[in-house]
């Protein structure tokens, strides 16, 4: 026991000379103990005496004090479990809603709702919300932050975070009585007992006003960006965007036909550099029959011909010299036709491909051209024009110049001609020696 050095403290304990001019009501008693062990024993005695409004104060959690004081286990773990579970559900919901529901988007063939790939984030949100619950829940349950407290008015209490072990009993406890309680604490081995008074100024008993002011100001400041955003969304402005970072909106480059002082002619456009190879169709694609299906024509040029200047042109009716219309070309044409043309025009060219069929099933009105209908001009138009249609498209048909090389386009022309012939054939077209097999 360490009551030996009790006196030197007790002298000025008798009536605590507070630095403040006057004291308010009595808040309670604060007793100091020498060792953690004595604090635990004192706490046990105080509890056994029936007190409930008391607390121990120490620089570190003292082993066994919870049991001595009869502190109930906190419900914090239950709250945290709830927080973590909420985090898991929210994390998974977020990923499902964004990636599988609101904006489903195929990424490397993975299902939009990919549970294995969603687990890491689900795990992190679980942890995050658990941590938030732990941290904020602990402070809330502890009723902190609270930077004002009657105990802070006591000078001795400064040592609670250093080497002091205190036991405080509040005056509001129904068993509290200044004298008997002092005796109880002192019998338990206190090395010093102080009376703790509330601040005489009633304003200082509660949260200081300046804290309100700081909180209000911070909240107001934090709302400003949102207010600006809300205003911007709900109003019109002719001002350009604010470009904090220019990104690619303003690039250091010259557009065509603008002035530029660096050159003598003050033009940003420069002429051809020496050695430039012309990409003029006239020189590169001189074989007009092969590349455009055109030939020179004394009569006026047909409408829509690509070459606007120069001598008049007309569609060729045969095949260009560069192409041999033989069985090989026919086979090639069949193969290409079945790849590129059948989806719309069908295998027989009657326009019954899978695409129009699907459109019809869906109630649509669009139809593909019947290539072999004898009543249509497709039968009669020159080969050159057919070639041009494949190259550049017509009506809703897109051009296939990008996909099908020139020679293959001529092969398709040949095959289409063959289809037209075959689909509109009469018995006379059948060779005489095979007529017997037709029924």
């Amino acid at each position: 026991m360490s009551n030996a050095d009790k006196h030197d403290h007790h002298d000025h304990d008798a009536d605590e000379p507070q630095a403040l001019p006057a004291d308010g009501d009595l808040h309670g008693l604060l007793a100091e103990y020498d060792t953690p062990g004595e604090l635990v024993e004192a706490a046990r005695k105080v509890r056994d005496a029936g007190f409930t409004e008391f607390d121990c104060y120490s620089p570190f959690p003292v082993h066994g004090i919870d049991e001595a004081m009869g502190i109930k286990r906190t419900i914090l773990p239950v709250l945290i479990f709830g927080g973590g579970f909420t985090g898991l559900i929210l994390g998974l919901l977020l990923q499902w809603w964004t990636n599988a529901f609101n904006w489903p988007w195929n990424i490397s063939g993975k299902p939009t709702w990919s549970i294995p790939a969603n687990i890491p984030i689900g795990f992190e949100t679980t942890i995050l919300l658990s941590v938030f619950t732990t941290f904020f829940g602990m402070w809330t349950l502890n009723k902190l932050p609270q930077v004002w407290h009657p105990l802070f008015r006591n000078e001795r209490f400064n040592r609670v975070t250093d080497d002091g072990f205190f036991l405080g009993i509040e005056a509001k406890d129904r068993r509290f009585d200044a004298e008997t309680t002092t005796k109880l604490l002192s019998d338990a081995g206190a090395i010093g007992i102080d009376k703790i008074h509330l601040d005489p100024d009633p304003a200082k008993k509660v949260m200081p006003k300046w804290i309100f002011a700081v909180i209000a100001a911070t909240t107001a400041l934090a709302l400003i960006p949102f207010a600006i955003a809300a205003k911007a969304r709900n109003s019109k402005s002719s001002e350009p965007h604010i470009h904090i970072f220019a990104d690619m909106d303003f690039q250091p480059k010259y557009k065509s036909d603008v002035a530029m002082d660096e050159f003598a002619d003050s033009r940003a456009n420069r002429g051809n550099i020496e050695g430039t190879v012309s990409r003029n169709p006239a020189s590169l694609k001189a074989d007009e029959a092969f590349y455009y299906g055109l030939e020179d024509d004394p009569t006026p040029a047909p409408e829509g011909a690509p070459v606007a200047t120069g001598p008049a042109k007309r569609w060729i009716t045969g095949f260009p010299k560069a192409v041999d219309a033989d069985q090989r070309l026919m086979d090639r044409g069949k193969q290409r036709f079945e790849i590129y043309c059948t989806p719309c025009h069908g295998y027989d060219g009657r326009g019954a491909g899978t695409v129009p069929n699907r459109v019809a099933q869906g109630g649509g009105l669009w139809q593909a051209q019947n290539l072999v209908d004898p009543g249509k001009k497709l039968i009669t138009i020159p080969n050159g024009q057919l070639f041009n249609t494949i190259s550049n498209g017509a009506a809703t048909m897109p051009g296939y110049a990008g996909q099908i090389p020139h020679r293959d386009r001529w092969a398709i022309v040949l095959y289409v001609r063959a289809l037209q012939r075959a689909q509109n054939a009469s018995l006379d077209d059948v060779p005489a020696d095979q007529k017997g097999s037709i029924r």
């Binding site: 103990y33 790939a117 890491p120 992190e124």
Partner: protein
């Protein structure tokens, strides 16, 4: 009383100063011991003028940070092209540094959480500094993924938010997992660290107000939230601390596992292997402990903390380095074995290329520093020599950097298409930025050392034999 002492002494640390404290039950003795701890820790922050060596180091750190700031300026205003990265080696120093830093951070969490759960009470002497290290390392780490996007000011698109374009982040991407893992980790580390700081900040508050420094007392008072060491508050505080430790442990595993997923979910030979998650975690702990020692050995010397950070704490950390070094070594061996066992020619080539290809020097730097160097820690004489331990730890730090470089750069430089093969060399901006993060890390760490309680006083007091003084049966 001797048995009583044993109960509070950590299983892992036999007190070497048992004779010095005498009878802890004698009146006033226990309080004297607690007061001594407070003084020993608080003087660093309370000294009116900083230590000269501190000033010198701080100056160097700030200069290094400035180099990094300049490199970031050039990077942001010019573009990613200032780095040595290419179409083939599209990740290089940037991601290497990211993984290296984040790995270093993990030791802090390990010390504060895992060692707490496994009741290794020697952790109390270093956990505060290690947690601070975690936060600063994560800050440095976070810079790299941010900068490597090329336009860091657009990074907020990774946060899911409703927008006019109806776009959402792509949550099936491991890089998005990274965003969540690293931010969760940073948040948790900061909250955990702050929670641990509160009682000690309250100590600073009370010391300042006792000396009449009212402004400092007010500042420390606000940040310590009015902590008054109440047993009812300690009760919830301890539960919360335990639970945070319990949450941080799987978190630290998940963070580095997610980092390893960045690589391992791909099909690139050398990246796609299932051991990556635990192997990365072990490597992270390994490099992190090396960094803790790198920081704490000089600090212990300069600030005279030898009686708090004791020799057996250094022993313990050296042994953890040895153990994790062996784990990493086992993972290297397993990878090599399976590369052969799998029968996958690309995988086999990737590993032969690592050891004998153009980057052979980095591979052997890695093996040398991570597997061979830690073998010195078998010897007690080595562990007792702080200078030697410091040097060996520097080597481990280098080795772990090379490990990430080997994985990232050598695998990318020799992927499936030989037509794409190339070599990688860093530019001065790569180097400068890395140096800059080292500067930033030390700047923050030195500031922490100057103004905050560097050692968790309340925790140290709680595991001292005196914490049980005056107990009767």
């Amino acid at each position: 009383m001797s048995t009583e002492d044993n109960t509070v002494d950590a299983g892992g640390s036999h007190h070497d100063d048992e004779s010095s404290h005498g009878d802890i039950h004698a009146p006033g003795k226990a309080r004297e011991a607690f007061r001594q701890v407070t003084k020993d820790v608080a003087w660093v922050a309370e000294a009116p003028k900083p230590h000269k060596l501190w000033l010198a180091l701080f100056g160097i750190a700030v200069v290094l940070t400035m180099i990094g700031v300049y490199c970031i300026y050039v990077l942001v205003t010019t573009g990613i092209g200032v780095w040595g990265n290419s179409n083939t080696v599209c990740w290089a120093w940037d991601i290497t540094n990211f993984v290296w830093w984040i790995g270093i951070g993990h030791a802090g969490t390990l010390i504060s959480a895992v060692l707490f759960l496994t009741r290794q009470s020697w952790r109390t002497s270093i956990n505060r500094a290690a947690e601070a290290m975690t936060i600063f390392a994560v800050m440095c780490a976070g810079l790299f993924p941010l900068l490597h996007t090329g336009r860091p000011w657009l990074a907020w698109w990774m946060i899911p938010h409703p927008n006019d374009m109806g776009m959402w982040p792509q949550f099936r991407s491991p890089l998005m997992w990274d965003v969540f893992a690293v931010t969760t980790y940073a948040t948790t580390s900061i909250l955990f660290w702050f929670m641990g700081l509160v009682p000690d900040l309250a100590t600073f508050r009370d010391r300042c107000s006792a000396r009449g420094q009212h402004l400092r007392a007010a500042i420390y008072g606000v940040v310590s939230l009015g902590w008054r060491g109440s047993a009812r508050q300690w009760h919830r505080y301890e539960r919360a601390y335990l639970i945070l430790a319990g949450l941080s442990t799987p978190l630290v595993f998940s963070v580095h596992s997610v980092v390893s997923f960045d690589f391992a979910t791909s099909q690139l030979p050398g990246w796609h292997t299932t051991i990556f998650p635990p192997y990365f975690v072990a490597g992270a702990i390994f490099s992190g402990f090396a960094m803790v020692l790198t920081l704490m050995l000089p600090a212990r010397h300069i600030f005279n903390l030898k009686h708090i950070i004791k020799q057996n704490h250094i022993h313990a950390m050296c042994k953890i380095l040895l153990a994790t070094g062996m784990m990493v070594g086992l993972a290297y061996a397993t990878e090599f074995f399976i590369a052969w066992y799998s029968g996958n020619i690309y995988e086999k080539f990737a590993f032969i290329n690592r050891a004998f290809g153009p980057f052979w020097w980095s591979y052997f730097a890695m093996i040398g520093c991570n597997v061979l160097i830690p073998q010195f820690f078998w010897f007690k004489k080595v562990r007792e020599n702080p200078v030697l331990v410091f040097i060996l730890c520097i080597f481990v730090n280098i080795g772990m950097w090379f490990e990430r470089f080997v994985i990232i750069a050598t695998s990318l430089a020799r992927s499936y298409l030989p037509g794409q093969w190339s070599y990688y060399s860093p530019t001065r901006y790569d180097v400068g930025l890395f140096v800059g993060t080292i500067g930033l890390f030390f700047t923050l760490f030195l500031l922490f050392f100057r103004f905050l309680p560097v050692i968790a006083m309340s925790e140290v007091k709680g595991v001292m034999p005196e914490a049980h003084a005056g107990k009767r049966h």
